[in-house]
């Protein structure tokens, strides 16, 4: 009986302590095989042909966490210079780009339109970069701490990327034999 109670108390304590922790530690990768977080992002916005990911984190940047639900997928990066939650990446079906200025896409950003909107200038830099494409929109919300150089935006943008949804569809089909319903996939039941 004593052992049972001890085991029960341990489970409760473990549950109590782990309740304070957050999310998985690795970001959705742009390269490599099947990744569940990336799949979940794709499921949040089935119409989006692109899914945001992280290609490689520069020194000083870490994966902060994620929140994914129907219609919206978010993850964020922390920086030792730009601060906690310095960049938040958000995938939705649509986004409001009124007030934003369209800029030319960077090399590799094919089939997308880019819009930028500075919301706060240094010393506390904040801006929104929107990537509009068929079936979805990816927004990078930059929100740097005071004194952080705006040039860190380049580091962040360089770390982020997108994956074609159809690539994920093929990966899921290969890995578990089911269809990742939505853009790039054959029609699903229902």
């Amino acid at each position: 009986m004593r052992r049972t109670r001890a085991a029960l108390a341990t489970v409760m304590l473990a549950a109590a302590l782990t309740g304070c922790t957050t999310a998985q530690s690795h970001p959705p990768p742009c390269r490599g095989s099947y990744d569940n977080l990336l799949i979940l992002e794709a499921q949040a916005v089935p119409s989006a042909v692109l899914v945001p990911c992280v290609s490689s984190l520069p020194i000083g940047w870490t994966f902060g966490g994620w929140l994914i639900e129907t219609g919206r997928a978010r993850f964020w990066l922390d920086s030792d210079r730009a601060g906690i939650h310095a960049v938040e990446v958000e995938l939705t079906r649509d986004c409001d780009i009124s007030g934003a200025v369209e800029v030319p896409p960077a090399p590799g950003e094919v089939g997308v339109r880019i819009f930028q909107e500075p919301t706060s200038l240094p010393p506390a830099f904040a801006a929104v970069r929107s990537m509009v494409f068929p079936g979805g929109c990816i927004r990078y919300h930059f929100n740097f701490q005071r004194g952080a150089p705006p040039s860190l935006v380049l580091e962040a943008v360089g770390a982020l990327g997108t994956v074609q949804r159809e690539v994920l569809v093929r990966q899921v089909e290969r890995a578990v034999g089911i269809t990742l319903c939505g853009a790039g996939a054959p029609p699903c039941a229902g």
Binding site: M12, L13, N36, L40, G177, L180, C181, G190
Partner: protein
């Protein structure tokens, strides 16, 4: 095979009823009177926990767990094939049960009811088990990182990874918690649990139809929700000790009908060689620590039909006693320093010992008949003499004989080095004009002088309730010195007296403590707050536990708001 021991009676002669002629030894391998069984629901949920564990380990071990996912997907495809506009609307409506707009009002409603009825322990268990479940399923979802279903279009909203199905787990723990915290034990609760099962089944079908959860994730969610609820409530607020009741009086007692009733009859027949013809619960309102019973024993060639008194003890009573002693140690300190019982067997053995001690010493306590085993290490029943036609002292005529017998009783206990520690009207009976003492479970050998002094004060106040303080004081002076009486009332105040005694004095509007203090020589009050390392450590330990629980609930408060 006949295991009867015809010569046992001669061995047992000398005041004990153990080993009476006709008692029967249980052969090795034969089940006890009431074998321990986890019950149908217990077996089912144990099986479910096993199944869920296998599924989760499989998913963790093979990441994508292709076989399970394929099976799940096949079920979802079949259900998606049944989709129609009207059926989808119905399923979406059913799925609303898993939203925060339904679950949180249910939780808050339950909390409000529990607060209104001051059912604090149920409230604590309800809140903590929900917070623990939410934290556990949150972490489990991050551990198993299973995406949402494929192959079918998802028609309802979701949040985060799919394994286990957290909204369903939340609903399961909530409605099961409501059944245990709000509905009295018995048919009502059985019906509530059945209704909870039906609701969850319908919700699971709806969520599969809508393609929002894998079947295996739903199974895990329901199992975890029920497991957290069942374990928490059955362990921390067992119905035997903390019953849910909306009427007057307590019902913290074991059911003595059905299988347990049959087991009691069999146990008394085999172990005490007596044929019980009726089992009747008695004095339930005055007993929270056991189930008191009156046994009717059939007439034999030597003895007429008679009654015996019995107290049924279960593990839940041991746990309650442990908490009670912890509280007393924190309240009174070293004066009440004692080690809690580790098992129900030790518990009942101790009462049997004190009963024999009192009876052998010639005190007016019931004659002991020993105890019987109902379920090994889980349930025992102590059997003793039943005082026929005895009434509680508060309902009896208290004359000089009764007063003298009450004071003699305390004097004798002092001389023997004993303290009863629970002197109150419910434990003092008057039978044919003579005082009888019952419930000797709290008797302590070589107690602290403080405890002995409190016994005297409580006895004098009980006697004075039916008479008056000067009269009792005069009788007391024939057995105790004025200084001893002064010590008794200097040692006694507030919580040192049983609740029943204090409430009876309050209802009569009498301050007997002050009356006796006025009669006795003046003496400074004796401090009952004694501090020791053990008491401090226990207090700190309890405070830390409370702090941990509060921190945990506060950290997970979002699940209620």
């Amino acid at each position: 095979m006949d295991d009867t021991s015809p010569d046992a009676a001669s061995i047992g002669e000398g005041g004990t009823h153990l080993g009476r002629s006709g008692s029967r030894r249980r052969p090795s391998g034969e089940p006890p009177p009431l074998p321990h069984q986890i019950g149908g629901t217990g077996r089912f949920w144990l099986l479910m926990v096993g199944v869920v564990a296998v599924i989760m380990v499989a998913i963790a071990a093979f990441q994508q767990a292709r076989v399970i996912v394929s099976l799940d997907a096949a079920i979802l495809r079949w259900l998606a094939g049944l989709r129609t506009h009207w059926l989808t609307n119905i399923m979406l409506a059913v799925n609303l049960l898993t939203t925060r707009w339904v679950i949180r009002p249910l939780r808050w409603g339950t909390i409000v009811v529990l607060v209104a009825f001051r059912r604090w322990r149920h409230l604590l268990v309800f809140v903590v088990c929900i917070a623990a479940l939410e934290a556990f399923t949150y972490e489990a979802a991050l551990l198993f990182v299973l995406p949402r279903p494929g192959d079918v279009t998802i028609l309802a909203g979701w949040n985060g990874f799919a394994q286990p199905a957290r909204p369903v787990a939340s609903l399961a723990v909530t409605i099961l918690g409501m059944a245990y915290a709000l509905v009295p034990h018995g048919r009502g609760r059985d019906a509530a649990k059945l209704a909870a099962g039906i609701v969850l089944f319908v919700v699971c079908v709806a969520r599969m139809y809508l393609g929002v959860d894998w079947p295996s994730a739903l199974a895990a969610g329901v199992t975890l929700g029920f497991a957290f609820g069942l374990i928490s409530f059955r362990w921390f607020v067992p119905n035997d000790v903390f019953p849910v009741s909306y009427g007057r009086g307590k019902a913290a007692h074991l059911d003595v009908t059905g299988a347990r009733g049959d087991a009691i009859v069999r146990a008394v027949r085999d172990q005490l060689a007596m044929e019980v013809t009726e089992i009747k619960p008695v004095g339930l309102e005055g007993s929270g620590g056991s189930t008191p019973l009156r046994l009717t024993v059939a007439a034999t060639e030597d003895e007429p039909q008679r009654y015996l008194f019995a107290k049924l003890y279960a593990q839940s009573h041991v746990r309650a006693d442990r908490w009670y002693k912890l509280g007393r140690t924190i309240l009174y300190g070293a004066l009440e320093d004692e080690t809690p019982f580790k098992s129900v067997r030790r518990f009942v053995e101790y009462e049997d010992y004190t009963l024999r001690l009192m009876y052998d010493a010639g005190l007016p306590a019931p004659e002991p008949f020993g105890f019987v085993e109902i379920t090994p290490e889980r349930e025992y029943m102590i059997v003793m003499q039943f005082f026929d036609h005895a009434v509680e002292i508060s309902d009896a005529d208290v004359d000089d004989t009764v007063i003298d017998e009450g004071l003699d009783l305390v004097r004798r206990m002092w001389d023997l080095g004993l303290a009863h520690r629970d002197v109150k009207p419910a434990n003092l009976m008057v039978q044919a004009g003579h005082l009888r003492l019952i419930d000797v479970f709290f008797v302590q050998v070589r107690p602290s002088p403080w405890r002995q002094a409190v016994d005297l004060a409580n006895m004098m106040m009980v006697l004075a309730l039916a008479t008056d303080a000067p009269r009792v004081y005069e009788h007391a002076l024939q057995r105790f010195s004025p200084d001893e009486i002064a010590e008794a009332f200097a040692a006694t105040r507030g919580v040192a007296s049983p609740t029943q005694l204090r409430s009876m004095m309050k209802s009569q509007g009498r301050d007997l403590l002050a009356e006796f203090r006025a009669l006795a020589p003046a003496r400074e009050p004796i401090k009952i707050q004694r501090w020791s390392v053990r008491r401090i450590a226990l207090t700190v330990w309890v405070l830390l536990g409370v702090l941990l629980a509060v921190t945990f609930v506060a950290g997970n408060w979002a699940v209620f708001t």
